[in-house]
Every structure is written in C-alpha cells, then in structure tokens.
C-alpha cells in the first residue's frame, strides 16, 4: 500500500486548534498595543556589566523631563534593575480587562519589569518539568517579552526604550515580535573586550535590518582603557553619542537626547 502522505498546509479543513491562528492573534495583540508608540529603541550591548540599564534609566528620565512620553520595558528578566534605577514606587500592579498599568516614576516614565512581579531576592523560576528545562525556558522568556509588550497598557508614547540583557537573543526575539525592526542604541565601555562583544551584537542587529542610532561609551575616565566607541563608530559609520563618566554631570543625558533622540 502506498501511503498518500500530504503536507501540513495541504490539509485545509477547519482546525479547532488553529495554532498558527493563535500565534497570529498574539502578534496582532502586540501590534495593536504598540500602534500608539512612535518609536521603539532597543538599548543593546552584547556585553554584560557595561551599564545598559544605567544608561537606559538616565535617558528615560531625560526624555520625560523634556516633555516626551517615555516608557521603559525592562527585558532583563533574570537581573531586572530598572525599577530601582528609576526609583519607582513600590506597589501592586493594577489590572484592567485589557492590560496591566505600568508603574510610573516621579518624572513620568512608564515602566514594566519582572522586578515588579518577583518576590524580593528570589530568582526567575517557572513551573515545569525538573529536567531538560532548556527545552522550554527560553520559550517562556520569549513569551514574557511578548506579554510585556502586548499586555502592559503603555498608552501613547514617543519612545519605548527596551533595556536588553547581555547577548543578542532577546534582541532577536524583540525584532520578531515587532512589525518593524527597532532603532538600536549601543552601549559599551572603552575596552577592546567590550568593543568586540558590542561589535557582534551590532552586526546581528544590522543583519536584522535594525537602525543603529549610535554608541554611548560608559564608565569613561576610570580604570577601563581603550577606544571602543571610536572603533565601533568608524566601523559602522555611526556617531558616538556620548562619553559618560563614572559620575555623570548634570545635563549628560539631556545632551544625548538632544543629539540622538
């Protein structure tokens, strides 16, 4: 007997599960939520410990002070620090039928972070089988990113800054969820090690059609020596937006906002 096996898409009868339809519905929910967001800016490095979250918070405060409606999505689910950096008030998340209200800083920055959900001092942990967690853990973190985008009532924003963890995976997930690639702001410290890691991340972002706004060099004037920002600017043809010292002077973040955002 010859089996008449066909492809998935050749079976066209109504399917109650309609898993592609469910995925499509999830994506539409993201698009609908972000329809009132003028621009998504991914703050990316590829290197840990360079101060992405510090830069994100400083820029968000400056944007809000300049009158721009600003949101921050803390996409570092395992090490969320944005609420502390924005001095967010401690409180319960308010639920509505169609979403969750973001926390709002004194300057008016709207924020959502895993830190608002996790018990103090506890790591991010999901229910599930105790073995082979790698099979589904990244999928769950990608789902968390989707829900942070789609289910937080961001409202009308001029900029939604997305503070990414080290590496490029979360950036790739973000790009897949958005209807258009985000703008990218790269953060580095001066060292060649940081430069090399940021170079890979920037290359991955550009390969995904993202638009790099420029590079911010953080922790300048301290123990870290090198010319990472200048090297990256020359290689990618992007501006050095700022060189931020260990203790930024008043107006540092406003200067970046004026020059780049």
């Amino acid at each position: 007997m010859t089996l008449n096996i066909r492809t998935y898409h050749e079976l066209t009868e109504a399917d109650r599960s309609d898993l592609p339809g469910q995925i499509g519905s999830q994506r539409r929910r993201v698009a609908d939520r972000l329809a009132t967001v003028r621009r998504v800016v991914a703050v990316l490095s590829g290197k840990g410990g360079v101060g992405k979250s510090f830069v994100t918070a400083g820029l968000a405060r400056a944007l809000a002070r300049s009158g721009r409606a600003t949101g921050v999505l803390d996409a570092d689910f395992n090490g969320p620090t944005i609420p502390a950096l924005l001095s967010l008030p401690v409180g319960r998340c308010t639920l509505h039928d169609d979403g969750i209200e973001p926390a709002v800083s004194a300057e008016g920055v709207r924020c959502f972070s895993m830190a608002l959900l996790l018990e103090d001092g506890r790591p991010l942990a999901f229910r599930g089988p105790e073995t082979e967690g790698h099979v589904w853990r990244e999928t769950l973190e990608a789902a968390a990113l989707r829900e942070f985008l789609a289910d937080v009532a961001w409202g009308a924003l001029d900029e939604l800054l997305v503070d990414l963890p080290p590496g490029v995976q979360r950036f790739q997930e973000l790009t897949e969820l958005l209807s258009a690639p985000p703008a990218v702001l790269a953060v580095t410290i001066p060292t060649p090690e940081s430069r090399d890691a940021v170079r890979r991340a920037l290359r991955a972002a550009i390969d995904l059609k993202a638009t790099p706004l420029g590079v911010v060099e953080n922790m300048v004037g301290g123990p870290f020596a090198g010319s990472a920002a200048d090297d990256l600017a020359a290689e990618f043809g992007i501006p050095v937006l700022a060189r931020v010292p260990f203790h930024p002077a008043d107006g540092t973040w406003e200067d970046i906002v004026r020059s780049a955002l």
């Binding site: 079976l11 009868e13 898993l19 969750i100 996790l118 082979e132 589904w136 769950l140």
Partner: protein
C-alpha cells in the same frame, strides 16, 4: 499539528482533550469518515513547550487574561503582585462551593486571582450557577490550563 486518516485520506477533527496526570496532555482526534479515534499523548516537556508558547491545543473559548503565560508559569512571583479586585461583564456572579473555595485557596497567591477569574468567566459563559471542583476540573481540561 494535524492528523491525517491515511486510509480515508481525510483530515481528522479535534475531539477532546484530557489531562490524565504526570504532565501528560492527551488530545483525541476523530476521522469524520470512518470514525476512528486516535489520541496524541505529549510527554511533560512537550506539554510544557506548548504551554510556553501560550497556545491551546483544541483552542479556547475565553479571552486571554493579561500576562496569562507569565502569571500562570512563574513560581517565584509575589503573592500580592496584582490588584485582582475587578469584575468583568454584566450579570450575577457564580457562587463557589466550599470545596471549590478550599481548592482555590491552595493555588499560589501570585496566580490565584487569574485562576479565579478564568473559572468565573468559564462558569458565566456557560450559565453555571455554582463552581464546584468538578466544574474546575472540566474547565481546566476544556481551556488548556496545563500549567495551572
């Protein structure tokens, strides 16, 4: 996923789902021509992967809850993370039997509000006046609440 009855050359139709225990998800499909039924059994990791995608085999009839996947899966969430005191829709709310209340009280605080809302919506949609453990079991199976 789809199933093809090779003998009849017909796409099989989703029939029902069950959660028989130990993390297994069972989804039954019937051939509309010959009536043959096959059951797909997923192992716990496969069940978890489907739940992680935020999709339901067999579909669902109630609207997604805000942040449903995170709230359903996170085990280190703050018990008081959410202000859950909200009502949805018109009409009187179903009552909870004592046993159902006890069972609900055993749900971790972080997710309890959402689970309560899901069961309430399920009961309201079906005109169920009292939520009992049996209703909760049926809803859990019908709605694909593998992770809850």
């Amino acid at each position: 996923m789809k199933f093809l009855c090779v003998e009849c050359d017909r796409q099989m139709q989703f029939e029902e789902r069950q959660l028989p225990g130990d993390g297994t998800l069972a989804a039954a499909f019937r051939c509309p021509t010959c009536g043959r039924v096959v059951a797909l059994l997923t192992n716990p990791m496969e069940t978890q992967l489907v739940a992680s995608l935020g999709v339901k085999i067999g579909g669902t009839t109630i609207s997604p809850q805000p942040m449903e996947t995170v709230r359903g899966m996170l085990v280190t969430g703050k018990a008081d993370a959410f202000d859950e005191d909200r009502e949805r829709g018109a009409g009187s709310s179903p009552i909870w039997s004592g046993e159902a209340q006890e069972r609900l009280a055993r749900v971790p605080g972080f997710v309890r509000g959402m689970v309560k809302r899901i069961y309430l919506d399920y009961a309201k949609d079906r005109g169920i006046a009292e939520i009992t453990p049996a209703v909760m079991d049926t809803a859990r199976t019908d709605l694909g609440l593998e992770g809850m």
